[in-house]
């Protein structure tokens, strides 16, 4: 198993490297980090421009810059992924890309975890019920809900939910729904319990928004895989043994049908990254999504690249975890 994991990682590295080239070219060629500076009135002097270019390594050729960005060799010590440096931010020396990324992750992780748990739970429930009552009114209703959720633009629904929460608060004159940020402003003088409640409260609406697409696709997936198992020979044999239907569904069908879902969900976690960008924009969370949008808007090339590399690494890791989980859950697959 360890050997397998190591070997899998060895295959993943060239793909990640190639992706890093792509990411670099994409960001490097598409914009000018100093665009804002150039447009300043009065125009900055030649020396200022040259200094800025040198500061952000723009005086070197693209391949040189890539090499620098990767290794940091020949740089000012503030660049080189392999050395753990993400490069200088155009937003000034106070903005350290690495630090900002790390603090963003903790915020986002909370939201993503909540959304995955909610989406998985609901998807399994709805998928199983749908499969067991195939072609019933309930199945059609759940199917329609799934289709609707899949067609729902996250940003529109999120805006609706947020405004709905605000409207509820206004009409009832309470602060029942939290609609802004990951925590209230006055975190410092809270007890742990109050802090937990505050965080949980802030999670509710963003979680509903973020889980929607994943829920829709996973519940359809669970329905299909459940139906496949329910029609399988071994479920038929279990029923022929005299095992009551209820037990057959739980012990034989659900247990087997969950295996593919677990892997799909693991890989699908990455799809949630897209949702995070939008959800955080709506609810004004200062997480990874916010980091990304700010980075793009300020033309902060190194910040965007770092972000993309992080998400790429997550994708690769997720598919590795999915494969390993599959091997653990399904006795037919054993990695040498």
């Amino acid at each position: 198993m360890l050997v397998y994991t190591a070997r899998r990682l060895a295959v993943a590295i060239p793909v990640l490297l190639a992706a890093s080239v792509l990411v670099f070219l994409m960001v490097d060629l598409s914009g000018d980090p100093l665009a804002d500076l150039r447009l300043q009135q009065p125009p900055p002097s030649e020396e200022v421009m040259a200094a800025a270019e040198a500061r952000y390594y723009l005086d070197r050729s693209t391949p040189e810059r890539y090499w620098l960005w990767m290794t940091g060799i020949g740089g000012n010590g503030d660049i080189g992924l392999l050395q753990g440096e993400f490069g200088p931010s155009v937003r000034g020396g106070a903005f350290d890309i690495g630090e900002q990324l790390a603090s963003s992750i903790t915020v986002t992780l909370r939201l993503v975890t909540a959304a995955i748990i909610a989406a998985l739970g609901l998807a399994i429930l709805s998928g199983v019920v749908s499969a067991m009552r195939q072609y019933s009114k309930l199945d059609y209703t759940l199917t329609f809900i799934g289709f609707l959720a899949l067609a729902m633009p996250t940003f529109w629904l999120g805006a609706l939910i947020k405004e709905g929460g605000l409207w509820f608060n206004q009409t009832t004159g309470t602060g029942f729904f939290y609609t802004i940020g990951a925590n209230s402003a006055r975190v410092s003088n809270m007890t742990n319990w109050e802090y937990f409640l505050d965080s949980a409260g802030h999670l509710v609406l963003p979680t509903v928004t973020l889980m929607l697409t994943s829920f829709a696709s996973w519940s359809r997936y669970q329905r299909t895989s459940m139906l496949e198992v329910l029609n399988s020979d071994y479920v038929r044999l279990a029923r022929a043994k005299g095992v009551p239907n209820r037990v057959v569904v739980r012990r034989h069908a659900l247990r087997t049908a969950l295996i593919p879902l677990v892997t799909v969900a693991t890989i699908g976690v990455v799809g949630i990254i897209e949702g995070v960008v939008i959800t955080e924009t709506i609810f004004q969370w200062r997480g990874l999504g916010y980091f990304f949008i700010e980075a793009v808007k300020t033309n902060d090339a190194f910040a965007v690249m770092s972000w993309l590399m992080l998400s790429g690494t997550l994708v690769v890791l997720a598919s590795l975890v999915a494969d390993i989980l599959y091997g653990v859950l399904d006795p037919r697959i054993r990695y040498e």
Partner: protein, 722 residues
């Protein structure tokens, strides 16, 4: 037509206290987009304690649906009416909780495919114990001990170790035994076995049937054995019921049904079987046409459209199941019954008196068949000059396939020797058969000869020209002479092309596209199909017709050699006979040479001039068909011949058998010396240690050891088996 006593007569059932399963007037209807589909109509039968009833029928006859209805395992969309009682308890209409108490306890079932019948994520011990724990109040430990005991009873070696293994660690035959063990778990009164051996190789089939027999003796259960294989039925049941188009059309003791059929369908089935125990020269007599669509059943007898003696009455009125004209049995339970208006006309009639040895398909008018039948029924001229030229030959062919790891890396972790040193010669105008069980390398050999896959080492030559050195482009013109016919008539035709396009494709590839259209019509006619049907798509044809299309495609370039890979094994027996006849006629007319790959010794014995028996990538024995079947010298050939069930109750029960044990070893790690020694009855029972040494250490060569043909056994000895 003396008495017309109906089997549904209530009085007859009430008396018999021994009846464990009583099915009365069972009907099953599915709703489909084209209207109601009547899968089972008015089926009634009874089974006594300890008795074995065989239900025979071709695919779509409703034999499996009947048993699924009894078990309550059909989907909710199926409408089931009628009655099925086990020990007097009605099963039809029970809710899930009620029927769960009966299933597995009083009535158990065994399914066709052992590879999918067991849940892959639980150990086999768990799955057997589950059956016990569902019905008995015992501890888990006790259930486990019982599971081990059951595994031992069905003949699984080392049951205490096997009990903790997962299904994928067991072979197909082993898994089917586990399913039998599950069926035995609670000493049921009835075991229904639905095609329990169809997915297995013949030598394994014999072992599993033995395990089934042991299960019956152990539990005293009645057995309902559902199968399409008349040979299996002949040897293993007391009574037979024949199903056709959702109805029972004939019932009686095996002897009555096999020796004195009183319904033309049963007679036709027997006539369309190539048989190991009869002369080879006779042409087979297929039943023309295909079973009726269950959506649109004819008004009269379901078999009337295919019946050579159908009259106006048959098309107007469906005959009921009534006592056969010469039924002698006094015990009502065993009485011979048939559903035919004119059953009395079948007294002393042989299949070939009624059915015609034709190679045509039913689309052709019946008169044409009759006319053709008379001239073609003459025995085939089989003797070809021994000196005829060698067309295709192989020397020391070896093919190793890499074994790759699962997962994305797919690293090579070993090699399977699919073919290890095969030499063959195919002569002009002869049929050479390659016989063996699954995994023996026969299909790989066929593809190597065509250079569809490339050999690891060895040589292939066609008319003296070496093929193994040619590039794909150089090989292309030679493909005109060497064509292939496939096993699966559904997978071998591109579903998105018309029949004309399919048959014309080889001509287009070889630049003969201009004349293709006319040639396609010619070819369709040649293979016995209506030449006007070229614009149709494959799905509009039946299995037998599709196989004919596949043959037409192979013939389109006027090949010299046809390689036939299990060309009839996916077809029902009544259809298979027509295709075999067609292949024989084509060989005579066009002077083709056939390499006939098959696992079915009966078919091979019928069609081949010479036979090579393969096992684990090596030829075990080869000779002319007469020699090989009359005087098999290799223990494996003997075992194979023994394992083929004969469709004759008396012969099947009395014949001498040579039985092999165990499963085929993995080709990735074949035994040293003789590859067959791990399963060889001679090695196990007759040889002393000194002589065994030779088998372990030295691979036997393929030599003539004084039997007139070649075998690869150090201690070969001729045995007469048929």
């Amino acid at each position: 037509m003396t008495t017309t006593e109906n089997i549904n007569d209530g009085a007859s059932t009430a008396v018999d206290k021994d009846i464990v399963l009583d099915v009365q007037d069972l009907n099953v209807t599915f709703s489909s987009e084209d209207g109601p589909l009547q899968a089972v109509r008015g089926v009634s039968y009874q089974v006594r304690r300890g008795e074995a009833l065989g239900i025979v029928g071709e695919s779509g006859s409703g034999k499996s649906v009947t048993s699924m209805a009894i078990m309550g395992l059909l989907p909710k969309t199926a409408k089931v009416t009628g009655s099925a009682r086990v020990l007097g308890q009605e099963l039809i209409g029970l809710n899930d909780a009620q029927i769960s108490k009966v299933r597995g306890e009083k009535i158990a079932m065994i399914f066709q495919d052992p590879l999918t019948s067991l849940n892959p994520v639980y150990t086999i011990g768990y799955q057997i114990a589950e059956a016990i724990l569902t019905h008995r109040k015992v501890t888990k430990q006790q259930a486990r001990e019982r599971a081990i005991e059951l595994l031992d009873k069905v003949g699984i070696p080392h049951p205490d170790r096997r009990v903790d293994q997962y299904p994928h660690e067991l072979s197909g035959g082993m898994r089917q035994r586990v399913v039998i063990a599950i069926a035995m778990a609670n000493d049921p009164d009835v075991i229904i076995a639905d095609e329990p051996t169809t997915a297995l190789d013949v030598t394994v089939q014999a072992q599993v049937l033995e395990a089934l027999e042991a299960a019956r003796q152990e539990t005293g259960a009645a057995l309902v054995l559902i199968t399409h294989d008349l040979g299996v039925v002949a040897g293993h049941v007391d009574r037979v019921a024949v199903m056709y188009a959702g109805r029972l059309v004939e019932t009686g003791t095996v002897e009555d049904v096999f020796y004195r059929p009183r319904m033309p369908y049963a007679l036709g089935l027997l006539g369309s079987l190539p048989r190991m125990d009869e002369a080879r020269g006779e042409k087979l007599t297929p039943i023309l046409g295909t079973p009726p669509s269950l959506l649109d059943l004819p008004r009269g007898c379901g078999f009337a459209p295919r019946c050579p003696m159908a009259e106006a009455l048959c098309h107007a009125e469906e005959p009921v199941l009534k006592e056969a004209v010469d039924a002698e049995e006094t015990d009502l339970h065993h009485r011979h019954m048939a559903a035919c208006h004119f059953g009395e006309r079948l007294v002393d009639v042989r299949p070939e008196d009624l059915f015609h040895p034709t190679s045509l398909d039913a689309e052709v008018p019946v008169e044409a068949v009759r006319a053709e039948g008379t001239e073609a029924s003459a025995e085939r001229g089989r003797e070809h000059e021994a000196s005829s030229e060698v067309l295709l030959s192989a020397v020391d062919l070896v093919k190793n396939f890499p074994i790759r790891s699962k997962g994305i890396l797919r690293r090579k972790i070993g090699e399977v020797q699919a073919v290890s040193g095969i030499s063959l010669e195919l002569r002009e105008h002869e049929t050479l058969a390659l016989v063996g069980e699954s995994g023996c390398g026969k299909s790989t050999t066929a593809r190597l000869l065509l250079q569809l896959i490339r050999q690891t080492s060895g040589e292939v030559t066609y008319m003296g020209q070496p093929l193994h050195t040619l590039s794909d482009a150089q090989m292309r013109p030679l493909r005109r002479d060497l064509q292939l016919v496939f096993q699966d008539p559904f997978a071998s035709l591109d579903p998105r092309m018309t029949v004309t396009d399919i048959i014309a494709e080889p001509m287009q590839i070889h630049g003969q596209g201009r004349t293709a259209k006319a040639r396609v019509k010619e070819l369709l006619e040649l293979v016995g199909l209506n030449p006007e049907h070229g614009s149709r798509y494959p799905h509009e044809f039946s299995g037998g017709q599709r196989q004919r299309i596949g043959i037409a495609r192979a013939l389109s370039l006027n090949p010299k050699v046809l390689i036939l890979d299990e060309p009839v094994s996916a077809l029902d027996v009544s259809i298979q006979a027509g295709v075999i006849n067609l292949l024989e006629d084509l060989q005579d007319e066009l002077g083709l040479s056939y390499l006939f790959v098959s696992h079915d010794l009966s078919v091979v014995r019928h069609i081949a001039d010479r036979v090579a028996v393969m096992y684990l990538g090596k030829v075990m024995e080869t000779g002319t068909t007469e020699e090989l079947f009359a005087a098999p010298a290799h223990p494996y050939t003997q075992a194979l011949i023994s394992a083929i069930p004969l469709p004759d109750p008396v012969k099947e029960r009395t014949r001498e058998r040579i039985v092999v044990t165990g499963d085929v070893p993995s080709p990735a790690d074949p035994p040293s010396g003789c590859r067959f020694r791990t399963r060889c009855p001679k090695f196990a029972n007759e040889l002393d240690d000194a002589r065994r040494n030779l088998c372990v250490e030295e691979p036997p060569e393929l030599l003539d050891r004084g039997t007139g043909h070649r075998d690869a056994c150090h201690y070969s000895q001729v045995v007469e088996l048929i």
